[in-house]
């Protein structure tokens, strides 16, 4: 059964139609990636799933429930957590406080075990536990952003460009951890990326977005081999 089902979603910013009827789905246990150029509407789609902005047409079903008219904070309490574009950690708070913020709507009894889990995934965060989050490196901040969303006990994790502005080695590390989260913690992952090569290698399935439309879909390996995708997103860049 599909966990997240997007049916004919249109989203507008004022008069500008950013999403022009998107259909896609994310099945339980998968890593699904959405790739595309700048301004294609990837982040808009991810944010529409979270209810900000809301879809003006179409439906978004999470485990069979229509969430397209719900406010953002209620959607997030259903078991969808997102690690937003540009990380958006709380810079003046310590790492520990940031992680506490992630668990703010959760039952406190899970807190310690969840914290252990996050520290297992990102040992670096444990070293920096009392440091002010804004003083950490970009990679560490990204780890914190993912760790923070895991503290919200998601069944579906939405990641928006976790590789943004990071060194290749750190990107690799982050993607490995995402895979681990998916396999060991049984979290379904919806990954929006510009780094098409890494994302498609990691993902079970992928979608390609151009100008607010889904133009291609398939398994990660299929898309990697697709000549159009290669020409547009892979060759020359990497």
């Amino acid at each position: 059964m599909s966990m997240l089902k997007i049916e004919g979603v249109h989203t507008f910013y004022g008069n500008i139609e950013a999403l022009k009827g998107i259909d896609m789905e994310v099945n339980e246990g998968e890593i699904v990636t959405l790739i595309g150029a700048n301004g294609a509407g990837k982040t808009t789609l991810l944010m529409t799933c979270c209810g900000s902005p809301q879809a003006s047409k179409g439906r978004i079903l999470f485990e069979g429930k229509d969430i397209s008219r719900m406010p953002m904070h209620e959607i997030c309490n259903l078991g969808i957590q997102q690690s937003p574009e540009g990380r958006r950690i709380f810079p003046r708070m310590s790492v520990y406080e940031n992680l506490q913020m992630g668990a703010i709507t959760q039952d406190p009894k899970h807190f310690n075990s969840d914290l252990e889990m996050v520290f297992d995934l990102f040992p670096r965060l444990k070293e920096r536990i009392n440091q002010r989050a804004g003083t950490m490196s970009g990679g560490e901040q990204q780890m914190l952003a993912i760790g923070r969303s895991l503290m919200g006990r998601p069944r579906l994790l939405l990641l928006d460009e976790p590789s943004l502005g990071l060194a290749p080695l750190v990107v690799k590390q982050i993607f490995e951890t995402v895979q681990k989260i998916n396999r060991e913690n049984k979290v379904t992952v919806f990954l929006v990326e510009q780094n098409a090569f890494h994302a498609l290698k990691l993902a079970h399935r992928g979608y390609v977005m151009v100008n607010g439309n889904i133009t291609l879909s398939g398994t990660g390996a299929e898309l990697l081999a697709n000549p159009e995708v290669r020409a547009a997103y892979l060759e020359g860049g990497h």
Partner: protein, 506 residues
Amino acid sequence: MSSAFASSRTNGSEIVKELAFFAVVALLMSVMILGVETVDRPTGLELAVRWDLVLLAIGSTVVGRLALIIRRESISRLVQAVLITITAVAVFEMFVRFRDMDDRWASPVSFDMALSSAVSSVVALAFIAIVFAIAYFSMKEKGVVEVEESEKLSSKIQLAYRSNTKKIGLVGIIFFIIFPFIFGENRSAIDLATLVMIYIMLGWGLNIVVGLAGLLDLGYVAFYAVGAYSYALLSQNFDLSFWLCLPLAGIFAASFGIILGFPVLRLRGDYLAIVTLGFGEIIRVVLINWYDLTGGPDGISSIERPSFFGLADFSRRVPEGTIGFNELFGMEYSSMHRLIFLYYLILALALVTNFVTMRLRKLPIGRAWEALREDEIACRSLGINPTNTKLSAFAIGAMFGGFAGAFFATRQGFISPESFTFLESAVILAIVVLGGMGSQIGVVLAAIVMIGFPEMFRELAEYRMLIFGAGIVAIMLWRPRGLLSFRDPTILLNMSQKEKVAGELK
């Protein structure tokens, strides 16, 4: 040694240029302020010109600047110290002449004063010696090292403050508790302390809204007014006691906080500030114009004073059926009893405000406020409801404003819309900003600086506002984020106190 640090500035013509520039600046600044004076003559007001003051101002500026140049170039400690001493004497001369002397070309007052008696010449020599010693020993051979040392010092002070916050807070509380025992008979000291305490409480209340939740509120005085008028009207029209009205005033103010909160939910920053400013003015204008209820500009007078928790009364002639405070405790009657009681009352209210804020900061709601200040989108993506969070910040901040207002009404016995102008909001906001947003001890310091100092130095008349303004500018220059501007994590793990602070500072 010294030549190694000499820069290209040492060359003579550049120094002369720099001195000339400062002389012109000194002339421009002093000619209107010091140089011209209105004198009351039988024929009417006349302008008198005081060139002696202008000359002294220019002279002390140039000599002082020269001392600074010598310091910068690390030339000679001795010359520098001599120059600084001359500057100090010139400035002193200028002040004395400015206040006391009419005669323009009299011989220097300092000499007259110094030579008038043996004691005064000793004092004068001591003054010069002290200035000289400070100037001489404050200069290090190497300018570069000094900068590093001063930085180290400030971070040391910071470290000491941050690892001892609790102790400092405790010492402060103990000081404020024993304050009436030290100044028990000094009415003006108790009055001033009460006033400062009201502003500390208002500062702490506003700190919830501005410092924690990051919602810039320029109309905080509205809640203060709502609290004050709630108590005044309830006690006059329904004969309710202060102790019953206090929570009611808080509830009223909190509901006004929510009323303000709703329309401004989507606003941030400047826009929010404008709307809250308007809200504060609306409340004031309503108070002025709703004559039947509020008495308009006449205000409400003879507001009931609080009793001793309903047990005893502070008046000299107690009403039938009640007993006096002095009788209850078997003391002589003193009018100070009520003032000291009021002082302790506002101290208790302020401490409650502080305690609640400190607790809230550790609870999810307080953390949500702080998170909301930093990043609203991230907050929503974590499942925090921004509407409830903002409204609760407005309501709780307003509630403490309401408590303070009720206290203000009962202390003054008279309130009118004039007490609740925009200036009050600005002062409270300035206390929060100067203290360092979100810092509780910072608010106390800033309230003492903003309210206490201008009152204490009332004798200096109009100069105090000048000094006050300069002080604010100085604080903003040296500590642009407020006196105590750092946020300590509410929780730290597996580290000694020193390490925590050091780790934070890195």
